[in-house]
């Protein structure tokens, strides 16, 4: 392993809830609540979790598309939360994002050429001819053809649009790409195409991905390491094989067992969790998962478990692995 | 299910509305005495339920509805110059004298007789006895004195100056207020209860005309005491009708004053003055029988009304004129030839025909023809382009010239469509090589700037109030009035002299002669193009009898009845 390209320490993002007669802040949604992890160069870090767990907010906070409330985000050892708007803008060429809904993120009135060349222009490629060539090159890289450049987004299928989104992200040779549910809107047969493309591009351009998804199979397939989030917190983070073969956190276990597998032969010992995910505006005290945890202990209600490395490169936030608690 | 119910309720409501409309109509029909008759002559008979109720209840109440375009400003006649106000106060209050039915000839009213001293400085009025105001107080000389003092003296207890009362018509007609240099009334002496004497400090040729104006009608002193500044909404006089109710911008209701000084009058039990701002809507109301008299008929509709069964067309005598004025001190209009040339170039008859549907006469004098001293011998300016060109050449403008014409932004009875008149003038003048550019200003700046002489040519008109020539000629053309009401900046010492003499003379024949001379001079000097005297038209249903419109716009309804 080389040096980490991205280091996230104690990241928090609280959204205020307005209320009362004067519309004051009466509380906050703790969308991301003290999350820390590192990403190595060339690595794919998967982040999984159910809706509302804060995985998307984490991704956007890293790029400061949402200003984090607290914590630091170090990109190549530089704390980007402290950067000025102008410096941040320059840095963005190294950090890109791909969104879930490729249609919503592409301006329907612009041609593909315009969409892809816009970031080029912003980052100083002023020569039109040069831009045009680059757009063609990028389209070919993502498996489209140069002649697609003059078309509009609605003329493409979902998978093709996602390819356009990827081409736009790649335009300025970024080092890090945050992938926010890039394949969840796609059909299975197209999903595999995009996943393969992304893997290919990673190898080709030595990219680093933070791959955010709710589909455990997809994350497993593409990631090197996987972090599991629940209610704004990271509950487990380790290499993917370790995580899938030997999950430590009860939530990870339940999550994995809930995934329906397209194989009638696998007999599973299914853990079906009771109830819903609690509201992030009013998370349970102690361990956020204790309300649904089949193994909850008294301490879980009161003390928030530390996110600790319990085995080599295997981080878990659970009192079951807390030696002092047991 | 809540919403299903609410929908049903709304449907029901809609149905009820329709039902209400229909059943209302139906019940009205059953009320009528002769339903067959009604159905056979729907058009002629004013057949709304409302109309019928009044028209057919012959033996009972006679209610007349008089509709006009705007509401009254104030029912205290002295405090306003508004014609819509005097129309009402004419019924409620009376002046010492009054005008004849169709002219400005004065005749007795509250004063049955009067005397003028030879020097023209003392006027003595003999008042009617046994007259009471509507509130029961007696009418006497003291009451007259209180009223006149109230208007002339801002310090007077009933002057209400602090409440914004200004008696501007008094100031205009009597030369100012108490203490002012031009104020003509020196003192008012109560000789006895029924005899009052006005002493002037200089003669005023139209003093008697003034005394007949509706603006100087006598209010009950007790009412002034009682209502204070609210007298403007509670008029109490000696007139044939007494005030009942005023619903602003809607209707003013008057009812018969049982103790009116003339027996048998008034004939109507009730008069309602209703406001219907839109001329077309007012005519519809007249046709459907909702109203009995409508003022302010569009000249274009007059022919239709005249030929329509059930409606009667009336005209008022001309009491105004519209004109195109010259700024006689601004080159090139300071040359009389130019002014005369323009006068010859404008086709008055065409304007009268185009804009007044024929209900207007081309004017050769500023004075309306019915006025004392009207000079019919003045030749006037024929529509003659060759003559005009000749005159223009004489003045040195054979190659033509450029000139500005300011057009009035508002319509007035004497000028119902100023924009079109301006265009006609523009086209007329282009025939003799004058290039006219039309200037448009808002009304208030228009009045202000023309007063300051910024204009070259402009459009305006004048309406009479007290039926005296002085009000027309002095105001508009006396050199002393330059900068106030004389917007032509016309100054002719000879004319000024004639007008001054006429103003102080008390011999009406002499006055007439002086005014005739003045008109002759004015015509020669051509300070303005007198365009037309418009004849206001109005309509009534044929049920209205004895209705005689007066040129001043206010006529008594005492004699009017409904058939």
């Amino acid at each position: 392993m080389q040096k980490p390209i991205l280091e996230v320490n104690g990241l928090k993002k609280y959204f205020d809830i307005k209320g009362g007669i004067f519309g004051r802040s009466v509380g906050s949604v703790k969308a991301v609540d003290d999350v820390s992890f590192t990403v190595q160069e060339g690595e794919i870090l998967g982040i999984v979790g159910e809706s509302g767990c804060g995985k998307s907010t984490t991704g956007k906070s890293i790029l400061r598309l949402i200003e984090p409330t607290e914590g630091e985000v170090k990109f190549e050892d530089k704390d980007i939360t402290q950067l000025s708007g102008e410096d941040m803008r320059k840095l963005r060429r190294n950090m890109q994002i791909i969104f879930q809904d490729p249609y919503a993120s592409l301006n329907p009135r612009h041609t593909v050429e315009k969409i892809i060349s816009e970031p080029l222009l912003i980052h100083g490629m002023t020569d039109a001819k040069e831009r045009k060539d680059r757009v063609k090159e990028l389209l070919e890289v993502v498996g489209l053809s140069g002649y697609h450049a003059s078309r509009y987004p609605h003329q493409f299928s979902g998978g093709q649009r996602q390819r356009i989104g990827i081409a736009r992200a790649l335009a300025n040779n970024p080092k890090l790409i945050i992938c926010d549910e890039p394949v969840s809107a796609l059909d299975v047969s197209v999903q595999s195409q995009i996943l393969n493309l992304m893997e290919k591009l990673r190898d080709q351009f030595n990219l680093t991905y933070v791959f955010i998804a709710h589909d455990l199979s997809v994350v497993k397939h593409i990631s090197d390491r996987v972090g599991v989030m629940y209610l704004g917190r990271m509950v487990e983070l380790t290499e993917k094989d370790k995580l899938y073969d030997d999950p430590k956190h009860p939530y990870t276990k339940a999550l994995l067992s809930a995934v329906p597998l397209p194989d009638p032969d696998i007999e599973k010992d299914r853990v079906i969790l009771e109830g819903d995910v609690p509201s992030p505006s009013n998370p349970p005290t102690g361990c956020a998962f204790h309300t649904r945890c089949p193994l909850a202990m008294d301490i879980c209600k009161e003390v928030r478990p530390q996110f600790e490395e319990i085995e080599d490169n295997h981080f878990v936030a659970c009192h079951l692995y807390d030696e002092t608690a047991q | 299910m809540k919403w299903k119910h609410s929908f049903l309720i709304t449907l029901l409501l809609a149905f009820m509305l329709v039902l209400a409309a229909c059943s209302g109509d139906g019940s009205a029909t059953t009320n009528e005495d002769e339903p067959e008759n009604n159905s056979s002559e729907t058009e002629e008979n004013d057949s709304t339920d409302e109309g019928d109720a009044a028209a057919e209840d012959d033996g009972e109440e006679q209610v007349l509805i008089f509709a006009r375009g705007g509401d009254s400003e104030s029912l205290d006649p002295g405090s306003t110059t508004d014609g819509e106000s005097s129309r009402i106060t004419r019924q409620v209050l009376e002046s010492l004298l009054e005008f004849d039915d169709e002219s400005f000839e004065v005749k007795p009213s509250l004063a049955h007789d009067w005397e003028v001293s030879d020097d023209g400085l003392t006027y003595t009025f003999y008042l009617e006895e046994g007259v009471t105001f509507h509130d029961g107080t007696d009418f006497n000389a003291e009451a007259v004195k209180v009223n006149f003092e109230r208007w002339s003296d801002p310090e007077h207890e009933f002057s209400f100056a602090d409440d914004g009362y200004v008696y501007s018509m008094y100031g205009t007609m009597f030369g100012g207020y108490k203490g002012d240099e031009g104020h003509v009334i020196d003192e008012i002496n109560v000789v006895n209860d029924y005899e009052i004497e006005f002493v002037l400090n200089k003669p005023l040729g139209f003093f008697l005309q003034n005394m007949a104006m509706t603006y100087f009608a006598i209010t009950s002193p007790a009412a002034l005491e009682e209502y204070g500044p609210e007298i403007n909404e509670n008029p109490v006089g000696t007139g044939p009708f007494q005030f009942v109710d005023w619903s602003k911008d809607d209707a003013i209701t008057l009812e018969k004053f049982e103790d009116y000084r003339i027996d048998g009058l008034p004939k109507l039990d009730r008069v309602v003055f209703e406001v219907i701002p839109d001329n077309a809507a007012r005519l519809i109301a007249l046709r459907s029988g909702e109203i009995d008299i409508m003022d302010g008929l569009n000249p274009d509709d007059a022919a239709g009304v005249e030929s329509e069964d059930g409606l009667v067309l009336h005209t008022r005598a001309e009491n105004n004129f519209g004109y195109v004025g010259f700024n006689a001190q601004k080159p090139p209009l300071d040359q009389v030839e130019v002014r005369q040339a323009i006068n010859h170039a404008i086709d008055r008859q065409a304007i009268a025909d185009a804009l007044y549907a024929g209900y207007a006469n081309p004017a050769k004098n500023p004075l309306p023809p019915s006025y004392m001293g009207y000079n019919d011998e003045v030749e006037g300016y024929e529509y003659d382009i060759d003559k005009a060109k000749e005159l223009l050449a004489e003045a040195g403008y054979e190659d033509g010239l450029e000139i500005e014409l300011w057009t009035m932004p508002v319509a007035r009875p004497y000028m119902p469509d100023p924009e079109t008149v301006a265009e006609i003038v523009q086209s007329n003048l282009s025939d003799i090589g004058i290039d006219v550019s039309i200037v448009r200003e808002e009304w208030a700046p228009y009045l202000e700037k023309t007063l300051q002489g910024e204009q070259e040519m402009f459009m305006l008109g004048w309406s009479g109030t007290n039926g005296d020539p002085d009000y027309f000629l002095s105001s508009l053309l006396h050199g002393d009035n330059v900068g106030s009401s004389n917007r032509t900046f016309y100054e002719n010492d000879e004319v000024d002299e004639l007008l001054d003499q006429a103003k102080v003379s008390v011999d009406q024949d002499e006055r007439a002669e002086l005014y005739k001379q003045a008109q002759e001079l004015i015509s020669q000097d051509s300070p303005m193009v007198t365009l037309v005297h418009s004849t206001p038209v109005l309509a009534t249903t044929d049920a209205v009898v004895n209705y005689v419109p007066h040129p001043s716009t206010s006529e008594s309804l005492a004699e009017v009845e409904l058939q």
Partner: protein, 333 residues
């Protein structure tokens, strides 16, 4: 609900302050010296000066404004220059007249508009839909004064079904209590008069309500069509319910939310349109009051009148907001 209402009410304060400032400024931008206009073309220069002084028009604007605001806070709307009466006492009959007309016009607009919109959406592309939308298009583009005159001509002059002008039969007027004449006649227990008064309301209400009616019809139709495509309507159908329940219970209530906005806004537009309607039908309402005041340059009345109209508009929108909250449980702060 209480907190929401209170908060909405508090939010009115800056709006109201802004309103007074704007009305005051606009009124003073009207060109022309009011004294000159009041006295007309026959006035002398001294008379104009005197009047100016007595009206306080010589003071600088900000002094006039601060006096205006101070008075306003004490419920004093000033005195009309024309009638020399306190506006606060004079204005009520006008406000009541306009309110009465507005209420009936909106009743007409909402009842007819919403139902036409519903049926159009229900029978999309049918002849009814086609005709209703054609009428709506005509209705939107119809000049109010022309419609009003046509109504008078047809229904008052030719058919003689309804009176052409006024609020009541002026040959036999009634002693007003609230100045809502329909209500007053009911209080007097004089039902024949109620019918007469309602008949007076018919033509002006239709004239005034036609444009809002057309807009509401179109809005309801498109909103209904939108809602009819929604998942929850499909659910209701899947439950086996009939068309009526689908439309009048579920679709209508949902479709009404955007329509409500339009109703609120249209009521404002309608207040503006009232000047024309009130003039043609000689309805002595607030629009006429302000119109006459403008002609007369009666500054205090113009200010107060516009302020009152703006206030009514703000109030209607407050009511609409509160209705949202009532209809839609999802709305929070």
């Amino acid at each position: 609900m209480f907190a929401y209402t209170t908060r909405r009410l508090l939010m009115l304060i800056p709006v109201l302050i802004g309103m007074t400032l704007i009305t005051f400024s606009i009124v003073h931008l009207i060109p022309g010296n009011p004294a000159q206009v009041i006295l007309g073309e026959t006035a002398t220069a001294t008379a104009i000066e005197d009047l100016e002084e007595s009206m306080g028009l010589n003071e600088p604007y900000f002094v006039q404004y601060s006096i205006y605001i101070t008075d306003l806070l004490q419920g004093d709307l000033g005195t009309s220059l024309r009638s020399k009466t306190a506006i606060s006492t004079e204005i009520w009959p006008y406000v009541a007249a306009t309110f009465e007309l507005t209420i009936f016009a909106m009743l007409f607009a909402v009842i007819v508009g919403v139902n036409a919109g519903i049926i159009s959406a229900w029978k999309q592309n049918s002849w009814f839909d086609f005709l209703a939308m054609l009428f709506a298009l005509i209705g939107v583009s119809m000049p109010v004064f022309w419609l009003a005159l046509m109504e008078q001509w047809v229904f008052a002059q030719q058919l003689d079904w309804f009176p052409s002008s006024g609020r009541q039969n002026n040959r036999d007027p009634m002693q007003p209590i609230t100045h809502f004449y329909v209500l007053d006649s009911l209080i007097h227990l004089d039902f024949a008069r109620t019918i007469t008064n309602l008949k007076h309301l018919v033509l002006p209400s239709i004239a005034l309500g036609t444009i809002p009616m057309a807009i509401i019809a179109r809005m309801t139709r498109s909103s209904m069509l939108e809602v009819m495509k929604s998942d929850y309507i499909r659910t209701v159908r899947a439950k086996g319910s009939g068309q009526f329940l689908v439309i009048y219970k579920h679709a209508l209530k949902n479709a009404l939310i955007p329509v409500l906005t339009v109703i609120g806004l249209q009521t404002g537009v309608l207040l503006g349109g009232a000047i024309l309607t009130e003039t043609i039908f000689s309805w002595p309402g607030i629009g006429r009051y302000v119109y006459e005041a403008i002609n007369y340059r009666d500054y205090p009345v113009i200010q107060s009148g516009i302020l009152v109209i703006a206030f009514i508009f703000v109030m209607i929108n407050l009511i609409v907001d509160l209705l949202y909250k009532y209809i839609d449980p999802r709305i929070k702060y």
